[in-house]
């Protein structure tokens, strides 16, 4: 039987909280996408690989011996209230294998576009929860949409397909 304990004094004049959570590192996402891989080789994909892209993509090539199993591409999307870092695993056959959210953070907006703010996610251990204000995983209420991630995944799949067919992978 479950237990519910109301927190007294809950009022709508609560202080501002920033929801933030770190879920996985790029290496963990890569291992989950390609459990058979024996090594991962890091590679940068120039921004020119996608017409909408300003910065290079960070990519890990999954290897089993000499054989290329596929790639894992890291990306971030900025929504109205949130920034989501995620990674996409794509097999050597061009098929989508895995999408993994690496980090999530929401705020009033402006600071998530700052590089200094972004930098705090780099190299964080997935098991040491970020303490930005508070690490709240359990916010209930109007749902934040993952549409931006879905769009981003589609672009990455298309970009990897171009690299593949032009023999650049």
């Amino acid at each position: 039987m479950g237990t519910l304990r109301w927190l007294s004094g809950a009022a709508l004049a609560a202080p501002a909280l920033v929801q933030a959570a770190q879920y996985a590192t790029l290496d963990e996402a890569a291992r989950r996408s390609f459990p058979d891989a024996t090594a991962f080789r890091e590679q940068l994909v120039p921004a020119s690989a996608d017409e909408h892209r300003a910065a290079p993509w960070r990519m890990l090539v999954a290897l089993k011996g000499e054989q290329v199993l596929g790639v894992v591409v890291a990306d971030a999307v900025v929504g109205k209230f949130e920034l989501i870092d995620y990674a996409v695993g794509i097999g050597h056959d061009g098929k989508l294998r895995n999408v993994e959210v690496l980090a999530y953070r929401e705020s009033h907006g402006y600071e998530i576009k700052l590089p200094a703010w972004r930098a705090q996610f780099v190299g964080k251990d997935a098991h040491s929860a970020l303490r930005v204000g508070e690490d709240i995983a359990n916010v209930s209420g109007a749902t934040l949409s993952c549409t931006h991630v879905t769009d981003g995944v589609r672009r990455i799949v298309a970009m990897v397909e171009r690299l593949r067919t032009s023999g650049r992978l």
Partner: protein
């Protein structure tokens, strides 16, 4: 250990206690695979889903459905009956009219206004269409998916943890968590409202991306003093999810049904007041 993926139109996270990485990866892979299957079967957006197959069907057609879809339809029928129609899965027509769902270009004109008018569940995961209907299970399927994920984790040997699909969440195996509810007027503010253990919770609130449209996602006749957010705590996440809509529409009159499901609610109003049911 924790992990998150984009599913069900939101971010779904799994946190578990006391397992090693190999077991966690295997267990969470299974849980996410189950969520993905539920998403595919019950998305009104996808033409290949069971819901769209039912929207294309004609009177008298018998359709094979995924077992998951049948289980959710059965729950939806029960909540429709128990709530006197406040819980209504035949609301897709209204949601399409409000641009909250895409208009299906392959559907029959909808005739049924309740699920009981629309379908009859048959043995072996089949359904008979009594009258064509546009069924949307958005009011219960996410909660059901959370319950299913918890089931998969437990089956894979995970003792305790939490599954959270954008605020429809469930803690199991003694995992204790504090739930915060967003202030719909200012979506990046959230207030801690309750601590729970072995319990689920779901919230229905004003649309976050367009506060002007307010309760656009709730279909039905609203009474006075309309809430801006309803959070329900219940043993299963499917029940919590479905009951948010009943509390939204019925208010105090929903108390008996809430108690029958061992559920409790927190209702927030625009004037800043909060009350518990």
């Amino acid at each position: 250990m924790r992990r998150a993926k984009p599913w069900l139109g939101t971010l779904v996270s799994i946190d578990v206690d006391g397992v090693d990485e190999a077991r966690f990866t295997e267990a969470s892979d299974r849980a996410f695979a189950r969520i993905a299957a539920i998403h595919a079967a019950m998305s009104f957006h996808e033409a290949s889903s069971d819901l769209r197959a039912m929207a294309r069907a004609r009177t008298g057609d018998t359709l094979p459905l995924h077992a998951e879809t049948c289980a959710v339809l059965q729950l939806a029928l029960a909540f429709e009956t128990q709530s006197g129609g406040a819980f209504n899965a035949c609301c897709a027509v209204t949601l399409v009219a409000r641009s909250l769902l895409p208009a299906p270009d392959d559907a029959s004109p909808p005739q049924a206004s309740t699920l009981a008018e629309a379908i009859e569940l048959l043995p072996d995961d089949r359904v008979r269409v009594l009258r064509p209907a546009w069924i949307d299970l958005g009011g219960i399927a996410k909660g059901y998916a959370v319950d299913a994920a918890v089931e998969e984790l437990q089956r894979a040997g995970v003792q305790a943890g939490l599954v959270n699909a954008g605020g429809d969440l469930r803690a199991f195996g003694g995992h204790r968590t504090t739930v915060h509810v967003r202030d719909p007027r200012s979506p990046t503010l959230a207030l801690p409202v309750a601590e729970l253990q072995d319990l689920a919770c779901a919230t229905s609130a004003w649309s976050l991306t367009s506060p002007a449209s307010r309760a656009a996602h709730v279909v039905g006749t609203l009474g006075d003093n309309v809430p801006m957010s309803v959070t329900v705590f219940a043993p299963s996440c499917a029940a919590a999810d479905a009951l948010t809509k009943v509390v939204w529409l019925r208010g105090e009159a929903a108390v008996d049904l809430m108690r029958a499901h061992n559920a409790h609610a927190l209702v927030l109003h625009e004037d800043g007041s909060a009350h518990r049911l």
